[in-house]
Subunit: 259 residues, 2 copies
Amino acid sequence: MEKKEQSTNQNRIMLTVSYDGTNYSGWAYQENVPTIEGALNAAIKELTGEELQVIGASRTDAGVHAYGNLAVFDTKSTIPPDRFMYALNPHLPKDIRIVKSQKVAPDFHPRHCDTIKTYEYHVLNTDYEVPVKRNYTYHFGMKLDIDKMNQAAKYFEGEHDFTSFCNVESQALTHVRTVYEVNVRREQEEVIITVKGAGFLYNMVRIMSGTLLQIGRGKGEPSDIKTILEAKDRTKAGPTAPAQGLFLIQYEFPSGIPE
Amino acid sequence: MEKKEQSTNQNRIMLTVSYDGTNYSGWAYQENVPTIEGALNAAIKELTGEELQVIGASRTDAGVHAYGNLAVFDTKSTIPPDRFMYALNPHLPKDIRIVKSQKVAPDFHPRHCDTIKTYEYHVLNTDYEVPVKRNYTYHFGMKLDIDKMNQAAKYFEGEHDFTSFCNVESQALTHVRTVYEVNVRREQEEVIITVKGAGFLYNMVRIMSGTLLQIGRGKGEPSDIKTILEAKDRTKAGPTAPAQGLFLIQYEFPSGIPE
Protein backbone atom coordinates (compact mmCIF):
# COMPACT_ATOMS: atom_id res chain seq x y z
CA MET A 1 0.00 0.00 0.00
CA GLU A 2 2.84 2.41 0.77
CA LYS A 3 4.97 2.94 -2.27
CA LYS A 4 8.21 4.74 -1.81
CA GLU A 5 9.51 4.37 -5.39
CA GLN A 6 10.25 7.69 -7.02
CA SER A 7 9.46 8.64 -10.61
CA THR A 8 11.15 11.41 -12.54
CA ASN A 9 7.80 13.10 -12.77
CA GLN A 10 6.60 15.22 -9.93
CA ASN A 11 2.92 15.65 -9.13
CA ARG A 12 1.28 18.55 -7.35
CA ILE A 13 -1.40 17.05 -5.13
CA MET A 14 -4.26 18.75 -3.34
CA LEU A 15 -5.69 17.16 -0.18
CA THR A 16 -9.11 18.00 1.25
CA VAL A 17 -8.59 17.88 5.01
CA SER A 18 -11.19 17.37 7.75
CA TYR A 19 -10.11 17.91 11.35
CA ASP A 20 -11.09 18.44 14.95
CA GLY A 21 -9.10 21.52 15.96
CA THR A 22 -9.57 20.99 19.72
CA ASN A 23 -6.14 19.56 20.40
CA TYR A 24 -4.17 21.71 17.93
CA SER A 25 -2.57 25.14 18.10
CA GLY A 26 -4.11 25.88 14.73
CA TRP A 27 -3.10 25.05 11.16
CA ALA A 28 0.19 26.89 10.77
CA TYR A 29 3.37 25.00 11.62
CA GLN A 30 5.08 25.94 14.89
CA GLU A 31 7.92 24.05 16.48
CA ASN A 32 7.14 21.78 19.46
CA VAL A 33 3.36 22.33 19.45
CA PRO A 34 0.77 20.20 17.68
CA THR A 35 -0.46 21.84 14.46
CA ILE A 36 -2.46 20.48 11.53
CA GLU A 37 0.27 21.44 9.07
CA GLY A 38 2.91 19.78 11.25
CA ALA A 39 0.88 16.55 11.39
CA LEU A 40 0.42 16.54 7.59
CA ASN A 41 4.12 17.18 6.92
CA ALA A 42 5.07 14.37 9.32
CA ALA A 43 2.57 11.91 7.79
CA ILE A 44 3.83 12.61 4.25
CA LYS A 45 7.41 12.11 5.41
CA GLU A 46 6.46 8.77 6.97
CA LEU A 47 4.67 7.68 3.80
CA THR A 48 6.98 8.90 1.01
CA GLY A 49 10.19 9.83 2.80
CA GLU A 50 9.90 13.37 1.44
CA GLU A 51 10.68 16.27 3.75
CA LEU A 52 8.29 19.04 2.71
CA GLN A 53 5.88 21.72 3.89
CA VAL A 54 2.32 21.61 2.63
CA ILE A 55 0.70 24.88 1.55
CA GLY A 56 -2.59 25.42 3.35
CA ALA A 57 -5.61 27.22 1.92
CA SER A 58 -6.74 28.59 5.28
CA ARG A 59 -4.48 28.93 8.31
CA THR A 60 -7.20 28.29 10.87
CA ASP A 61 -6.71 29.36 14.50
CA ALA A 62 -6.30 27.09 17.52
CA GLY A 63 -9.56 25.28 18.29
CA VAL A 64 -11.18 25.97 14.89
CA HIS A 65 -12.49 22.90 13.04
CA ALA A 66 -12.66 22.01 9.35
CA TYR A 67 -14.60 19.69 7.10
CA GLY A 68 -12.73 20.81 3.99
CA ASN A 69 -9.54 22.79 4.35
CA LEU A 70 -7.03 22.29 1.53
CA ALA A 71 -3.35 21.35 1.54
CA VAL A 72 -1.13 21.34 -1.56
CA PHE A 73 2.33 19.81 -2.04
CA ASP A 74 4.66 18.37 -4.68
CA THR A 75 5.64 14.74 -4.55
CA LYS A 76 7.70 12.33 -6.60
CA SER A 77 5.69 9.44 -5.13
CA THR A 78 4.09 7.09 -7.66
CA ILE A 79 1.00 6.62 -5.52
CA PRO A 80 -1.91 7.61 -7.81
CA PRO A 81 -3.10 11.07 -6.73
CA ASP A 82 -6.69 9.95 -6.05
CA ARG A 83 -5.42 7.06 -3.87
CA PHE A 84 -3.07 9.24 -1.86
CA MET A 85 -5.74 9.76 0.82
CA TYR A 86 -5.98 6.03 1.56
CA ALA A 87 -2.21 5.76 1.86
CA LEU A 88 -1.87 8.84 4.04
CA ASN A 89 -4.73 8.40 6.54
CA PRO A 90 -3.10 5.54 8.48
CA HIS A 91 -0.17 7.90 9.20
CA LEU A 92 -2.38 10.64 10.64
CA PRO A 93 -3.90 10.94 14.13
CA LYS A 94 -7.63 10.11 14.35
CA ASP A 95 -8.59 13.79 14.65
CA ILE A 96 -7.29 14.55 11.14
CA ARG A 97 -8.63 12.74 8.05
CA ILE A 98 -7.98 13.29 4.36
CA VAL A 99 -11.36 13.02 2.62
CA LYS A 100 -10.16 13.63 -0.94
CA SER A 101 -6.87 13.73 -2.85
CA GLN A 102 -6.41 14.87 -6.45
CA LYS A 103 -3.78 16.05 -8.93
CA VAL A 104 -3.69 19.79 -9.65
CA ALA A 105 -1.66 21.95 -12.08
CA PRO A 106 2.05 22.37 -11.18
CA ASP A 107 1.53 26.09 -10.54
CA PHE A 108 -1.73 25.76 -8.60
CA HIS A 109 -1.73 27.68 -5.31
CA PRO A 110 -4.75 27.31 -2.98
CA ARG A 111 -4.61 30.92 -1.77
CA HIS A 112 -4.06 32.50 -5.18
CA CYS A 113 -7.06 31.29 -7.08
CA ASP A 114 -10.72 31.99 -7.49
CA THR A 115 -12.63 30.21 -4.68
CA ILE A 116 -15.81 30.43 -2.66
CA LYS A 117 -15.19 29.61 0.98
CA THR A 118 -18.01 28.55 3.28
CA TYR A 119 -17.74 28.89 7.05
CA GLU A 120 -20.30 27.98 9.71
CA TYR A 121 -20.38 29.40 13.21
CA HIS A 122 -22.22 27.13 15.69
CA VAL A 123 -23.92 28.63 18.74
CA LEU A 124 -25.43 26.44 21.46
CA ASN A 125 -28.49 28.45 22.43
CA THR A 126 -29.58 26.65 25.60
CA ASP A 127 -30.03 27.68 29.23
CA TYR A 128 -27.51 25.10 30.38
CA GLU A 129 -24.17 23.96 29.00
CA VAL A 130 -24.01 20.64 27.12
CA PRO A 131 -20.71 18.80 27.78
CA VAL A 132 -20.64 16.81 24.52
CA LYS A 133 -20.93 20.09 22.57
CA ARG A 134 -18.43 22.15 24.57
CA ASN A 135 -15.64 21.88 22.00
CA TYR A 136 -17.90 22.33 18.95
CA THR A 137 -20.20 25.24 19.85
CA TYR A 138 -20.19 28.57 21.65
CA HIS A 139 -22.66 28.40 24.52
CA PHE A 140 -24.79 31.53 24.46
CA GLY A 141 -27.70 31.39 26.90
CA MET A 142 -29.61 34.55 25.94
CA LYS A 143 -32.73 34.47 23.78
CA LEU A 144 -31.86 35.17 20.14
CA ASP A 145 -34.07 36.87 17.53
CA ILE A 146 -33.17 34.93 14.36
CA ASP A 147 -35.18 37.23 12.06
CA LYS A 148 -33.29 40.25 13.31
CA MET A 149 -29.96 38.41 12.91
CA ASN A 150 -30.88 37.59 9.30
CA GLN A 151 -31.81 41.20 8.60
CA ALA A 152 -28.44 42.28 10.02
CA ALA A 153 -26.64 39.56 8.04
CA LYS A 154 -27.79 41.05 4.72
CA TYR A 155 -25.71 44.20 5.36
CA PHE A 156 -22.54 42.09 5.19
CA GLU A 157 -23.30 40.87 1.68
CA GLY A 158 -21.40 42.52 -1.19
CA GLU A 159 -18.00 44.20 -1.42
CA HIS A 160 -17.09 46.20 1.70
CA ASP A 161 -14.12 47.39 3.68
CA PHE A 162 -14.18 44.98 6.63
CA THR A 163 -11.67 46.85 8.84
CA SER A 164 -14.25 46.93 11.67
CA PHE A 165 -14.57 43.13 11.44
CA CYS A 166 -10.89 42.31 11.40
CA ASN A 167 -8.37 41.61 14.15
CA VAL A 168 -6.22 44.74 14.59
CA GLU A 169 -3.11 42.60 14.12
CA SER A 170 -4.09 41.88 10.51
CA GLN A 171 -1.27 42.49 8.03
CA ALA A 172 -3.52 42.32 4.96
CA LEU A 173 -2.74 45.00 2.36
CA THR A 174 -6.41 45.77 1.87
CA HIS A 175 -9.42 45.10 4.07
CA VAL A 176 -11.85 45.11 1.17
CA ARG A 177 -13.48 41.72 0.80
CA THR A 178 -16.51 40.31 -1.01
CA VAL A 179 -19.08 38.37 1.00
CA TYR A 180 -21.59 36.44 -1.12
CA GLU A 181 -24.06 35.28 1.47
CA VAL A 182 -24.69 35.33 5.22
CA ASN A 183 -27.63 33.56 6.81
CA VAL A 184 -28.70 32.44 10.23
CA ARG A 185 -30.84 29.42 11.03
CA ARG A 186 -31.98 27.53 14.10
CA GLU A 187 -31.36 23.78 14.07
CA GLN A 188 -32.67 22.11 17.22
CA GLU A 189 -30.73 23.65 20.12
CA GLU A 190 -28.13 25.30 17.87
CA VAL A 191 -28.12 28.59 15.99
CA ILE A 192 -25.91 28.30 12.90
CA ILE A 193 -24.47 31.30 11.07
CA THR A 194 -23.34 30.46 7.51
CA VAL A 195 -20.96 32.82 5.71
CA LYS A 196 -19.87 32.43 2.07
CA GLY A 197 -17.24 34.69 0.60
CA ALA A 198 -14.33 35.08 -1.78
CA GLY A 199 -11.90 35.61 1.07
CA PHE A 200 -11.77 36.55 4.72
CA LEU A 201 -9.60 38.65 7.02
CA TYR A 202 -8.07 37.53 10.31
CA ASN A 203 -10.93 36.64 12.75
CA MET A 204 -13.47 38.14 10.35
CA VAL A 205 -16.12 35.40 10.60
CA ARG A 206 -15.75 35.25 14.39
CA ILE A 207 -16.18 39.05 14.75
CA MET A 208 -19.14 39.02 12.34
CA SER A 209 -20.68 36.21 14.43
CA GLY A 210 -20.00 37.99 17.73
CA THR A 211 -21.67 41.12 16.36
CA LEU A 212 -24.70 39.24 14.99
CA LEU A 213 -25.16 37.62 18.43
CA GLN A 214 -25.23 41.07 20.08
CA ILE A 215 -27.93 42.21 17.66
CA GLY A 216 -29.78 38.92 18.10
CA ARG A 217 -29.97 39.38 21.84
CA GLY A 218 -31.37 42.89 21.41
CA LYS A 219 -28.25 45.03 21.74
CA GLY A 220 -28.48 47.18 18.60
CA GLU A 221 -30.44 47.08 15.36
CA PRO A 222 -29.79 45.26 12.07
CA SER A 223 -28.86 48.54 10.31
CA ASP A 224 -26.02 49.03 12.82
CA ILE A 225 -23.96 46.67 10.64
CA LYS A 226 -23.93 49.36 7.91
CA THR A 227 -22.73 52.01 10.39
CA ILE A 228 -20.09 49.70 11.84
CA LEU A 229 -18.74 48.82 8.37
CA GLU A 230 -18.53 52.51 7.48
CA ALA A 231 -16.67 53.33 10.71
CA LYS A 232 -13.70 51.13 9.72
CA ASP A 233 -12.97 50.79 13.42
CA ARG A 234 -12.66 47.43 15.19
CA THR A 235 -13.93 48.87 18.47
CA LYS A 236 -17.35 49.58 16.91
CA ALA A 237 -18.09 45.88 16.23
CA GLY A 238 -19.01 43.18 18.74
CA PRO A 239 -16.67 40.72 20.48
CA THR A 240 -14.75 38.00 18.66
CA ALA A 241 -16.83 34.85 19.13
CA PRO A 242 -14.70 31.98 20.53
CA ALA A 243 -12.76 29.68 18.21
CA GLN A 244 -14.46 26.38 19.03
CA GLY A 245 -17.74 27.40 17.33
CA LEU A 246 -16.09 27.96 13.95
CA PHE A 247 -16.06 25.36 11.15
CA LEU A 248 -14.42 25.77 7.75
CA ILE A 249 -16.94 23.84 5.68
CA GLN A 250 -15.68 23.88 2.10
CA TYR A 251 -13.84 25.50 -0.76
CA GLU A 252 -15.59 25.70 -4.13
CA PHE A 253 -13.85 26.54 -7.39
CA PRO A 254 -16.33 28.41 -9.62
CA SER A 255 -13.86 28.45 -12.55
CA GLY A 256 -12.78 24.84 -11.97
CA ILE A 257 -9.54 23.45 -10.57
CA PRO A 258 -6.59 23.76 -13.00
CA GLU A 259 -5.16 20.28 -13.62
CA MET B 1 -22.48 31.09 47.25
CA GLU B 2 -20.90 28.09 48.92
CA LYS B 3 -22.55 27.48 52.23
CA LYS B 4 -20.96 24.98 54.54
CA GLU B 5 -23.27 25.51 57.51
CA GLN B 6 -25.04 22.36 58.57
CA SER B 7 -28.66 22.10 59.56
CA THR B 8 -30.12 19.30 61.64
CA ASN B 9 -32.27 18.38 58.70
CA GLN B 10 -30.87 16.23 55.99
CA ASN B 11 -32.08 16.48 52.40
CA ARG B 12 -31.98 13.78 49.74
CA ILE B 13 -31.09 15.54 46.50
CA MET B 14 -31.33 14.26 42.95
CA LEU B 15 -29.00 15.69 40.29
CA THR B 16 -29.62 15.41 36.56
CA VAL B 17 -26.16 14.95 35.07
CA SER B 18 -24.99 15.65 31.51
CA TYR B 19 -21.52 14.46 30.50
CA ASP B 20 -19.07 13.72 27.75
CA GLY B 21 -17.88 10.21 28.56
CA THR B 22 -14.81 10.34 26.28
CA ASN B 23 -12.26 10.93 29.02
CA TYR B 24 -13.87 8.74 31.71
CA SER B 25 -13.67 5.05 32.59
CA GLY B 26 -17.44 5.07 32.91
CA TRP B 27 -19.80 6.11 35.71
CA ALA B 28 -18.92 3.67 38.51
CA TYR B 29 -16.25 4.75 40.99
CA GLN B 30 -12.85 3.08 40.64
CA GLU B 31 -9.74 4.12 42.45
CA ASN B 32 -7.11 6.11 40.53
CA VAL B 33 -9.05 6.37 37.28
CA PRO B 34 -11.37 9.19 36.22
CA THR B 35 -15.03 8.26 36.64
CA ILE B 36 -18.20 10.34 36.61
CA GLU B 37 -19.17 9.15 40.09
CA GLY B 38 -15.69 9.96 41.39
CA ALA B 39 -15.87 13.48 39.97
CA LEU B 40 -19.31 14.06 41.55
CA ASN B 41 -18.22 12.75 44.96
CA ALA B 42 -15.13 14.99 44.87
CA ALA B 43 -17.12 18.08 43.82
CA ILE B 44 -19.66 17.58 46.62
CA LYS B 45 -16.84 17.18 49.11
CA GLU B 46 -15.25 20.43 47.90
CA LEU B 47 -18.58 22.24 48.13
CA THR B 48 -20.08 20.92 51.38
CA GLY B 49 -17.21 19.13 53.11
CA GLU B 50 -19.25 15.93 53.14
CA GLU B 51 -17.55 12.67 52.28
CA LEU B 52 -20.16 10.60 50.45
CA GLN B 53 -20.89 8.35 47.48
CA VAL B 54 -23.68 9.37 45.12
CA ILE B 55 -26.07 6.66 43.93
CA GLY B 56 -26.25 6.61 40.14
CA ALA B 57 -29.30 5.66 38.10
CA SER B 58 -27.30 4.15 35.25
CA ARG B 59 -23.71 2.97 35.56
CA THR B 60 -22.72 3.85 32.00
CA ASP B 61 -19.62 2.28 30.42
CA ALA B 62 -16.37 4.03 29.48
CA GLY B 63 -16.93 6.37 26.53
CA VAL B 64 -20.75 6.44 26.82
CA HIS B 65 -22.30 9.93 27.03
CA ALA B 66 -25.34 11.27 28.89
CA TYR B 67 -27.69 14.20 28.68
CA GLY B 68 -29.64 13.12 31.73
CA ASN B 69 -28.22 10.48 34.03
CA LEU B 70 -29.29 10.78 37.69
CA ALA B 71 -27.31 10.93 40.90
CA VAL B 72 -28.85 10.87 44.38
CA PHE B 73 -27.25 11.70 47.74
CA ASP B 74 -28.04 12.92 51.25
CA THR B 75 -26.67 16.23 52.43
CA LYS B 76 -26.88 18.40 55.53
CA SER B 77 -26.01 21.43 53.40
CA THR B 78 -28.46 24.36 53.63
CA ILE B 79 -28.03 25.20 49.94
CA PRO B 80 -31.59 25.11 48.56
CA PRO B 81 -32.00 21.87 46.57
CA ASP B 82 -32.94 23.63 43.32
CA ARG B 83 -29.85 25.89 43.59
CA PHE B 84 -27.46 23.03 44.30
CA MET B 85 -26.62 22.75 40.59
CA TYR B 86 -25.31 26.33 40.44
CA ALA B 87 -23.17 25.77 43.52
CA LEU B 88 -21.80 22.44 42.33
CA ASN B 89 -21.00 23.16 38.66
CA PRO B 90 -17.95 25.35 39.39
CA HIS B 91 -16.42 22.36 41.24
CA LEU B 92 -16.85 20.00 38.29
CA PRO B 93 -14.70 19.59 35.17
CA LYS B 94 -16.15 21.15 31.98
CA ASP B 95 -17.13 17.76 30.57
CA ILE B 96 -19.63 17.16 33.41
CA ARG B 97 -22.53 19.57 34.07
CA ILE B 98 -25.46 19.36 36.46
CA VAL B 99 -28.50 20.54 34.52
CA LYS B 100 -31.07 20.15 37.30
CA SER B 101 -31.12 19.60 41.06
CA GLN B 102 -34.18 18.85 43.17
CA LYS B 103 -35.26 17.48 46.53
CA VAL B 104 -36.61 13.92 46.56
CA ALA B 105 -38.15 11.72 49.27
CA PRO B 106 -35.68 10.39 51.92
CA ASP B 107 -36.18 6.81 50.70
CA PHE B 108 -36.07 7.57 46.98
CA HIS B 109 -33.68 5.30 45.05
CA PRO B 110 -33.06 5.99 41.35
CA ARG B 111 -32.74 2.33 40.41
CA HIS B 112 -35.71 1.10 42.45
CA CYS B 113 -38.53 3.15 41.01
CA ASP B 114 -40.80 3.28 38.03
CA THR B 115 -38.95 5.06 35.19
CA ILE B 116 -38.83 5.26 31.42
CA LYS B 117 -35.26 5.48 30.16
CA THR B 118 -34.45 6.80 26.71
CA TYR B 119 -31.20 5.95 24.95
CA GLU B 120 -29.99 7.03 21.51
CA TYR B 121 -27.36 5.25 19.47
CA HIS B 122 -25.68 7.53 16.91
CA VAL B 123 -24.23 6.05 13.72
CA LEU B 124 -22.19 8.18 11.29
CA ASN B 125 -23.26 6.73 7.95
CA THR B 126 -20.73 8.32 5.59
CA ASP B 127 -18.08 6.99 3.22
CA TYR B 128 -15.34 8.84 5.06
CA GLU B 129 -14.65 9.41 8.75
CA VAL B 130 -15.48 12.82 10.24
CA PRO B 131 -12.93 13.84 12.93
CA VAL B 132 -15.25 16.15 14.90
CA LYS B 133 -17.72 13.25 15.27
CA ARG B 134 -15.24 10.48 16.10
CA ASN B 135 -16.02 10.49 19.85
CA TYR B 136 -19.80 10.88 19.45
CA THR B 137 -20.75 8.43 16.69
CA TYR B 138 -19.93 4.97 15.38
CA HIS B 139 -18.65 5.32 11.83
CA PHE B 140 -20.41 2.73 9.67
CA GLY B 141 -19.71 3.18 5.97
CA MET B 142 -22.13 0.63 4.48
CA LYS B 143 -25.46 1.62 2.95
CA LEU B 144 -28.28 1.18 5.47
CA ASP B 145 -31.91 0.34 4.75
CA ILE B 146 -33.75 2.42 7.37
CA ASP B 147 -37.18 0.89 6.59
CA LYS B 148 -35.84 -2.60 7.19
CA MET B 149 -34.17 -1.47 10.43
CA ASN B 150 -37.50 -0.02 11.61
CA GLN B 151 -39.32 -3.26 10.76
CA ALA B 152 -36.72 -5.18 12.76
CA ALA B 153 -36.93 -2.66 15.63
CA LYS B 154 -40.63 -3.46 16.19
CA TYR B 155 -39.75 -7.03 17.25
CA PHE B 156 -37.92 -5.63 20.28
CA GLU B 157 -41.01 -3.86 21.60
CA GLY B 158 -42.85 -5.48 24.51
CA GLU B 159 -41.77 -7.80 27.30
CA HIS B 160 -39.09 -10.31 26.24
CA ASP B 161 -36.22 -12.33 27.60
CA PHE B 162 -33.25 -10.34 26.33
CA THR B 163 -30.54 -12.95 27.10
CA SER B 164 -29.41 -12.85 23.44
CA PHE B 165 -28.94 -9.08 23.72
CA CYS B 166 -27.03 -9.03 26.96
CA ASN B 167 -23.32 -9.21 27.77
CA VAL B 168 -22.57 -12.74 29.00
CA GLU B 169 -21.02 -11.24 32.14
CA SER B 170 -24.40 -9.89 33.25
CA GLN B 171 -25.28 -10.77 36.84
CA ALA B 172 -28.93 -9.76 36.53
CA LEU B 173 -31.34 -12.19 38.24
CA THR B 174 -33.68 -12.12 35.29
CA HIS B 175 -33.13 -11.15 31.66
CA VAL B 176 -36.78 -10.27 31.10
CA ARG B 177 -37.16 -6.59 30.29
CA THR B 178 -39.86 -4.38 28.80
CA VAL B 179 -38.99 -2.21 25.82
CA TYR B 180 -41.60 0.45 25.02
CA GLU B 181 -40.35 1.77 21.71
CA VAL B 182 -37.50 1.37 19.25
CA ASN B 183 -37.20 3.51 16.14
CA VAL B 184 -34.57 4.40 13.59
CA ARG B 185 -34.27 7.68 11.71
CA ARG B 186 -31.83 9.37 9.39
CA GLU B 187 -30.77 12.89 10.38
CA GLN B 188 -28.38 14.40 7.84
CA GLU B 189 -25.30 12.14 7.80
CA GLU B 190 -26.30 10.27 10.97
CA VAL B 191 -28.59 7.32 11.57
CA ILE B 192 -30.07 7.51 15.07
CA ILE B 193 -31.57 4.53 16.89
CA THR B 194 -33.85 5.55 19.77
CA VAL B 195 -34.73 2.98 22.45
CA LYS B 196 -37.19 3.58 25.29
CA GLY B 197 -37.65 1.02 28.03
CA ALA B 198 -38.34 0.32 31.67
CA GLY B 199 -34.85 -1.05 32.22
CA PHE B 200 -31.89 -2.44 30.33
CA LEU B 201 -29.35 -5.20 30.73
CA TYR B 202 -25.56 -4.85 30.48
CA ASN B 203 -24.68 -3.69 26.90
CA MET B 204 -28.29 -4.33 25.81
CA VAL B 205 -28.78 -1.14 23.74
CA ARG B 206 -25.35 -1.56 22.12
CA ILE B 207 -26.06 -5.18 21.12
CA MET B 208 -29.55 -4.24 19.86
CA SER B 209 -27.92 -1.45 17.80
CA GLY B 210 -25.16 -3.70 16.46
CA THR B 211 -27.79 -6.24 15.39
CA LEU B 212 -30.04 -3.61 13.74
CA LEU B 213 -26.99 -2.38 11.78
CA GLN B 214 -26.35 -5.91 10.45
CA ILE B 215 -29.96 -6.15 9.26
CA GLY B 216 -29.80 -2.62 7.86
CA ARG B 217 -26.81 -3.51 5.71
CA GLY B 218 -28.59 -6.56 4.33
CA LYS B 219 -27.27 -9.33 6.58
CA GLY B 220 -30.48 -10.96 7.73
CA GLU B 221 -34.16 -10.08 7.75
CA PRO B 222 -36.26 -8.05 10.22
CA SER B 223 -38.00 -11.19 11.53
CA ASP B 224 -34.60 -12.58 12.59
CA ILE B 225 -34.94 -10.46 15.74
CA LYS B 226 -37.80 -12.72 16.86
CA THR B 227 -35.69 -15.85 16.29
CA ILE B 228 -32.68 -14.34 18.05
CA LEU B 229 -34.79 -13.34 21.09
CA GLU B 230 -36.23 -16.86 21.29
CA ALA B 231 -32.76 -18.45 21.12
CA LYS B 232 -31.69 -16.78 24.43
CA ASP B 233 -28.13 -17.07 23.16
CA ARG B 234 -25.76 -14.10 22.92
CA THR B 235 -23.88 -15.63 19.98
CA LYS B 236 -27.01 -15.41 17.79
CA ALA B 237 -27.17 -11.59 17.95
CA GLY B 238 -24.91 -9.09 16.18
CA PRO B 239 -21.80 -7.41 17.55
CA THR B 240 -21.83 -4.93 20.45
CA ALA B 241 -21.77 -1.51 18.80
CA PRO B 242 -18.94 0.66 20.22
CA ALA B 243 -19.48 2.76 23.33
CA GLN B 244 -18.90 6.23 21.86
CA GLY B 245 -22.15 6.13 19.82
CA LEU B 246 -24.35 5.66 22.91
CA PHE B 247 -26.16 8.51 24.68
CA LEU B 248 -28.34 8.18 27.77
CA ILE B 249 -30.90 10.85 26.92
CA GLN B 250 -33.34 10.98 29.81
CA TYR B 251 -35.21 9.39 32.68
CA GLU B 252 -38.95 9.99 32.91
CA PHE B 253 -41.08 9.20 35.98
CA PRO B 254 -44.55 8.18 34.80
CA SER B 255 -45.84 8.00 38.39
CA GLY B 256 -44.07 11.21 39.41
CA ILE B 257 -41.02 11.71 41.61
CA PRO B 258 -41.71 11.10 45.32
CA GLU B 259 -40.81 14.25 47.27
